[in-house]
Amino acid sequence: MININFSSKFKHANIISITLFLISIILIGFKGLNYGIDFKGGTLIELRSNNTESSLIRDILKNMDLGDVNVKKFGKEGDFLIKVEQKGDNNKLIPEIKKNLSDKLNSDVNFRRVENVGPKVSAELLQSGIIAISLSLAAMLFYIWVRFEWQFSIGSIIALFHDVMITLGIFSLLSLEINLSIIAAVLTIVGYSMNDTVVIYDRIRENLGKFHKLDISDIANLSINETLARTIITSITTLLALLSIFILGGEILRGFSFAMILGVLIGTYSSIFVASPILKYFKVSYKTIEKEEEKIVP
């Protein structure tokens, strides 16, 4: 059997985690997140036009007085993504932009995607995204509290916070766009990371009951080692699927799959190095779970 002394590395790992967590908070607080039009409002246009340069499109749109305009290449040659931070009336604006581009670009323009989100809707979408993430964290907290003891509940929720914040921190660092699909990714990460933590926690609980003499450090270590093969294999199969989406799934799914890949890596790490040490800090022992059992069966 593999036997790695994980608990000896807890301390170092925790210092790294806390540092990354704090850096992420600072990044999110000061640099901010790069919200897409879903959450900021505005217009997004994806167009395909050969023999066109971003600068050409930019110049045409600059003359229209639309406020902040962002044009970049998107995926294949000839595909461009335009983002306009307009505040005007979408009923008139989009046809105008389309007409201007069709008229002034020399080659055929194919508008592949047009999205517009008004300020009210984007505020609502952001709000419901935040509610969804908070609610999922609360639901996990509750589920673990019901299935395990409160120490486990706290441990798993700290691990989840850790995963979500660091994933968002990396998004902030790289200025990657946060849109609806990223919220979906974050929620899936919450589910996945929880899944990983639960497997280890289950084993810790089982071993606590089996080996009364071992202290929590050793129990955690033993449990992590026993489940390590599963942890790694599942991460690999999930990552294989995600890499396939990341590489072959097209531009639209790229941000989503990237967030998921980050989340799976961080989530796997946190189940071992964040969720488990917390049980040690709470001095969980076989008495903790016995007490709980007495409560249930008086």
Binding site: I94, I131, A132, L180, A241, S244
Partner: protein, 514 residues
């Protein structure tokens, strides 16, 4: 855990075959359908337009509160309540009265209250008043009064939106109410929604009013189609409500596109009387506060048929006729969210989605074979069964598949093997201490059960919350992820377990490797 009764085996395989069979309904011949069930493609995959419209009832509220002025004054007078400082605000009325107790009694009476009707559904009055000081009160709509106004405006708007969209003739539009003020419109296959947006952007309130300089009703100064400034009487001779039909037509004399209309009996009467009395004057045709044209009344029009000209192109005439036919919207509609995907992007998305699904699937299968050999084969069989069942359930539900939904399926493929991995790893451990192989497999399954359940329920919780809060494509992801978890549990715990039991029981405690 390895003993299956015959009936159990039968149930497991029957369920699997039954559900998985639905997956094949998606590949039916169009002309020879066995059953009309299939997975629908989301707008992001088949191309089309998604519009979220919002009604703005401010003007309606203003009108409604104004309509309360005369009855209210009458009520106060009839009951000898003195008032002064009567003011009409945007959405309220303010006044000072000398007998608030008496007013309260009248205002909040539930029987035959014409001014402030009691809404039974909400157990609330339409209006409410607030005392701002001793004598002064402000009357406005109550929360439920506003809700009622919004509701009826919304219902009416949905009806008219439907008529307009049906008239344009797009295939299978979806028109639904969303919340208290919004209408969701989905137009699959529509490449350019601008025409529909333009059609929905007009309230199309049509009035016929006289051009006049002095009038007891007051006048509005409007600009005519040729740039003339005209004074238009505020008195409405006839409005679009009286129209029963409108069609584009070509006027023979100069080939000009026009809109000819037919009036109902009441409209024909009103129109006949007004044109008879006002021969020689000009009649302004006002649409949404703008003059379409202001022709001379040459002779009385009593037939109930008329024509509107106004330098239209044929398309404009067609659209105007459509708007007039469908009726006026009670309030203006604004597009608060729009998402349009061209059909070629949709096709590209399907292609890349399916490619990544196949590649991801093959990678996972190869990895499992490499890692678990014979039992990898069992896990893979379960995985294929899982995929078939997932597609089968989606077909039964006639769910909508979106691009994130495909991602959800791929993710399910990656995560589904987890259940079998958990079990196999557990069995490996048991085999180290347990002498009887059958026993080791048995305890392996038993002990892993709780862990597998716990681990999957957490992901299921995430999927449910995502389904409740997500919108559009993201909802599609939640659906495939959630159903994927359930089919995963079924295939791992029933199908794969049965296959494992066949292998284990047949080897009869000989050397077995996992």
């Amino acid at each position: 855990m390895l003993n299956f009764s015959k009936i159990n085996v039968l149930i497991i395989y029957f369920l699997f075959t039954f559900i998985a069979a639905f997956a094949f309904l998606n590949f039916q011949d169009e002309n020879n359908k066995l059953m009309n069930k299939k997975i629908n493609l989301g707008l992001d995959l088949q191309g089309g337009s998604y519009l979220l419209l919002e009604i703005n009832s401010d003007s309606l509220v203003r009108e409604k509160i104004q309509s309360k002025v005369i009855p209210l004054k009458k009520l106060l007078k009839n009951n000898d309540i003195n008032y002064d400082n009567f003011k009409i605000n945007d959405n309220s009325l303010s006044l000072s009265i000398d007998n608030i107790e008496k007013f309260d009694l009248l205002f909040n009476s539930r029987k035959d209250n014409l001014i402030n009707p009691y809404i039974d559904n909400y157990r609330s009055h339409e209006l409410e008043y607030k005392k701002t000081d001793n004598k002064k009160i402000v009357i406005s709509f109550s929360k439920f009064g506003l809700l009622t106004i919004n509701n009826s405006a919304l219902k009416q708007s949905i009806e008219i939106v439907r008529r307009r969209i049906d008239d344009v003739g797009t295939k299978e539009p979806t028109i639904l109410q969303r919340g208290e003020k919004r209408i969701l419109v989905e137009l699959p296959g529509l490449k350019d929604p601008e025409r529909i947006k333009a059609l929905l952007g007009k309230t199309a309130q049509l009035n016929f009013r006289l051009v006049t300089d002095n009038n007891e009703f007051g006048t509005d100064e409007l600009i005519s189609e040729n740039g003339e400034k005209l004074n238009i009487s505020k008195r409405i001779i006839m409005s679009g409500e009286n129209l029963i039909d409108a069609q584009p037509s070509i006027q023979n004399q100069n080939n000009e596109p026009t809109v000819s209309f037919t009036l109902d009996r009441l409209g024909a009467q009103k129109f006949g009387r007004a044109t008879t009395d006002n021969v020689g004057k000009r009649l302004a045709i006002v649409l949404d506060g703008e003059i379409v044209s202001a022709p001379n009344i040459n002779e009385p029009i009593t037939s109930g048929n008329g024509m509107i000209s106004g330098n239209f192109t044929f398309q404009e005439a067609t659209d105007l006729a459509l708007l007039l036919r469908s009726g006026a919207l009670p309030t203006p509609l604004t597009v608060v969210e729009e998402r349009t995907v061209g059909p070629d992007l949709g096709e590209d998305s399907i292609k890349s989605g399916i490619t990544s699904l196949i590649v991801g699937f093959i990678l996972v299968i190869l990895f499992m074979l490499y890692k678990y050999k014979l039992f990898g084969l069992i896990a893979n069989t379960a995985l294929i069964a899982n995929l078939l069942m997932l597609i089968g359930v989606l077909t039964i539900l006639e769910a909508t598949l979106t691009l994130p939904g495909i991602a959800g399926i791929i993710l399910t493929v990656g995560m589904a093997v987890d259940a079998n991995v958990l079990i196999f790893e557990r069995i490996r451990e048991e085999l180290k201490t347990e002498k009887s192989i059958i026993h080791a497999f048995d305890t392996g399954y038993t002990r892993a059960k709780i862990t597998v359940l716990d681990a999957n329920i957490t992901t299921l919780i995430a999927a449910i919350i995502l389904f409740a809060f997500g919108s559009g494509p993201v909802k599609g992801f939640a659906i495939t992820l959630g159903i994927g978890i359930i089919t995963t549990l079924f295939t791992a715990y029933f199908l794969a377990r049965h296959l494992t039991s066949l292998v284990v029981l047949n080897t009869k405690n000989k050397e077995i490797k996992i």
